[in-house]
Amino acid sequence: MSEKSKRVEFVKGSRAFNRRETLKLGLLGAASLAMPAVVRAEDPVLHVASLFDLTGNLNIYGIQEMNVSRYAIESINAAGGVLGKKLMLHEYDTQSKIELYSRYAQEVGANDQISAVVGCFTGASREAARPVLSRNKKLLFFPTIDEGGECDKYCFMQGTDCVQQEGPLLDWAIKNGGKKIYVVAADYIYGHVANAWTKSLAEAKGASLVGTEFIPLDVSDFSATIRRIQAAKPDVIMSNLVGNNHVAFYRQFAAAGLNKSIRIVSPVFGLGNEEKVLSPAEGAGIVVAYSYFEGLDNPENKAFLEGFRKKFPEAGVIADAPAQVWNGWHQWKMAVEAAGSTEIDKVVEALEKAAPFAGPAGPVRLDPQSHRNIQNVHLAQVTDKQSYEIIEKFEQVAPTREVVGAGTCDLTGKDKTSHRMINPKF
């Protein structure tokens, strides 16, 4: 008997049935691999993803943002999903490690099914992910406030920008404090760009900067800064300090008794629960500007909070960035429905033409040239009970299209195929 016939004999035995099954499955598998388009069209689920830091140093932001992401997806599914299909959220814990943003962005990028991402917290993490996602034609919605410069057709910035925050803040500062402003900012790109805006906005409003300081992120000894502030005798401090170490500024400022005479306004205070970290006396009086505060009184916010608290009864206060996650998912949903598909260029077009979305902080409408939202900005003051009291409302504040020192970004005009970051010059 030859080798071949021996094998045939063997197959005819008890294992023949299994063999045939395996062969069938194998053929099916090969067929499904060979016809991905066919398979996908029958996929009853739309895949989306979120990249947030659930562990590590930055998890205080990430956990809440992921909570809202889950809540948003669940809420959208409960209302019928998108284009009749349910959404499936792929969660990635980036562990406060930058290289994981790189890695998971690449994974998402390589995943044919995922079409949109709401994620990232710091500007660094966004820049680790954005180029990769963009190159792989995935939409990225970035919920945190930031300094601008992004000029990427597939990237949408949910958070308020410097102009949207600092404009109202400076108005309030000049009215309630005075025209002499001292700036303390974190020494990295955000701090420098924000300061450039502070300067131009302040000058436009007739105020002057009597001092500017950039503090490296690891520093927690502010004695030199406080001495210089006392020498300069400003009316208002504009603080763009960021991170755990920089909270010490407010503490040392109060310890020197300066909080009684000099007002503080800040576009970034509160992102990290600073009002809870500081004692009531230390934090009281600081004025911040965000789109969203939990205390906003409108029906959308009521419904939003009710649903969220039911799902996450133990979760803490919702700050602005997590609320922007909600806006992001809903704006995407509206655009997909308007476009009739998840195909990225169609969705982008729909987003740019979209009607406003009624978010918990008010209507949110995309400004197509900048890919930023025209939204309400509220000023709030830290109370002596470590909470926020809303003191002023600015309706539908427009974002800027300008990148400080480097021209503008026009994503429906000259930059409509751009996928880059314009480097600000300060």
Binding site: I215, S220, S223, A231, V247, A255, V277
Partner: protein, 288 residues
Amino acid sequence: MDAFVVIAVSVVTAIATLILISAGLAVIFGLMRVVNMAHGEFLMVGALTTTSLVLKLHVPWWLAMMAAPFVGGAIGGLMEILLISRIYQRHLVDTLLITFGISLIMFQLAVDIFGTTPPGIETPLGALTVGSYAFPAYTLVLLVSAVVMLLGLYLLFTRTKYGLLARATAQNPAMALALGVPAKRINFITFTLGCALASFGGAVLAPMISVSPSLGQAFVGQAFMTVVIAGPAFITGTLLSAILLGGVSNGLSQGLTTLWGLTGLFAMAIIILRFRPLGVSSSWKRGL
């Protein structure tokens, strides 16, 4: 003139801060040649103990700060008995890695218990004014604490039996053992002392800074640099090292910008290491 006084206070405070955050690490490294990578976490333990006692149990701040070293010492002592004591005779890297592993564990446990942004305590004692400047009166507490700490260590190591035995064991472990020095007990005390000192340092600093589980990681770099620059004389060397690094750094921060201060600190460190790679006190005759 007023500015000068305030600047001087600031510089001296910076020096005192470096001493407070480095003393524990210096003792353990100086006497046992062990690099305690969990040193930062002991700073954190001290700070969190203080804030917890003050905020939850309404203990007066100075009392809470005195309790902190006991908590840190207890944890350090436990660590020593269970783990460190078994690996002294091994290569340096083993203690380094085990303390690093422990630092990860302590960090995560702190996050689990306290969250990443627990509430802090405000600076007590109000402000002192000098002309048109004001500075926190509490800085004097920092200063006094650092001085008391150094003096206390000096007396401990020159006037007590433990101090003598510890120095002997450090200089010649084999001989000390042969003479019947209870090395195990001495090492236990030294390690526990180092951890207690670190906790005390963190506790005293707590009202001036932001207290969170990541406090350790924020300060361990500076503590490390101070100890490296200090060299073998772990009391006087640490003092000089703190004066050089803290003085230059704070001086530059005051005179120019904070960034210059940070740069200056590292430039100083590099220069010193270039000429005295084993630390400023490496060519000194005194052992402490």
